[in-house]
Symmetry: none
Subunit: 121 residues, 2 copies
DNA sequence: CAACCAGGTCACGAGGTCAC
DNA sequence: GTGACCTCGTGACCTGGTTG
């Protein structure tokens, strides 16, 4: 079977080793979990941006393309996933900073970071 | 239902190394699985997934629409059973792989497989 | 009354849209 | 081109009727 399903347990989740949770309902679980710890469990509605985008460190609210990523990296990856060959890094020879607070992010380096960090179409 | 479901586990999440759970609710599942192993080894409640879905080879827990099928194929068939005419296979001319571990399953081919394997509304 | 299954529910995430 | 927002299909879980 897949790995899917099942579940049913209400126990801990320790994802160690690179576990990835790619699942639907599990996320909230995760989040709520954390919320519960700190707050008292309110888990508002949307705003569960307690997650950090693996690509740019911005806030994320779940998985996109199999990795915890923000809306902008999701959209970026969606548009550019197949363009790697066509892109060129014109500044730092492939070592540009692509974090969210950087003004003009190098497309080539951003895409490479996406791929490295596991985004997968 | 708010967040429906459950899972609810309120415990930690440690995402470290590379595990990947590629599923939806899998998280907890996985965990539980492991828990069960170590703990009492039982398959808790549902978990009678010793059966294999005739459509996608995923774990199944019984008959749905007259065939042994998983939750997802059951839901898929429920929604699409009458849509065969409207669907088109855009990739492999009607020969797409529709097993559970395939990322984007072709609806047309999945529905045809459902019908071929005997799902019947 | 326990097990089974059809159908309902709804969080999640992929893709679309559009103001900028 | 970018990124915030929206829409909708998917699938895990729930509910309720039926059957033994």
């Amino acid at each position: 079977m897949s790995d899917k399903k099942k579940n049913t347990s209400k126990n801990d989740l320790h994802l160690e080793n690179d576990h990835r949770i790619t699942t639907k309902r599990s996320l909230s679980t995760q989040l709520s979990t954390e919320l519960n710890k700190t707050k008292s469990g309110s888990t508002s509605k949307r705003q569960k941006s307690l997650l950090i985008c693996v690509v740019c460190d911005d806030g994320a609210h779940g998985y996109n393309f199999d990795a915890i990523s923000c809306e902008s990296c999701k959209a970026f990856f969606r548009r550019n996933a197949l363009q790697l060959q066509k892109l060129k890094c014109r500044r730092n020879d492939g070592h540009c900073d692509v974090r969210f607070n950087i003004k003009k992010r190098c497309k080539k380096c951003r895409l490479e970071k996406c791929i490295e960090t596991g985004l997968d179409q």
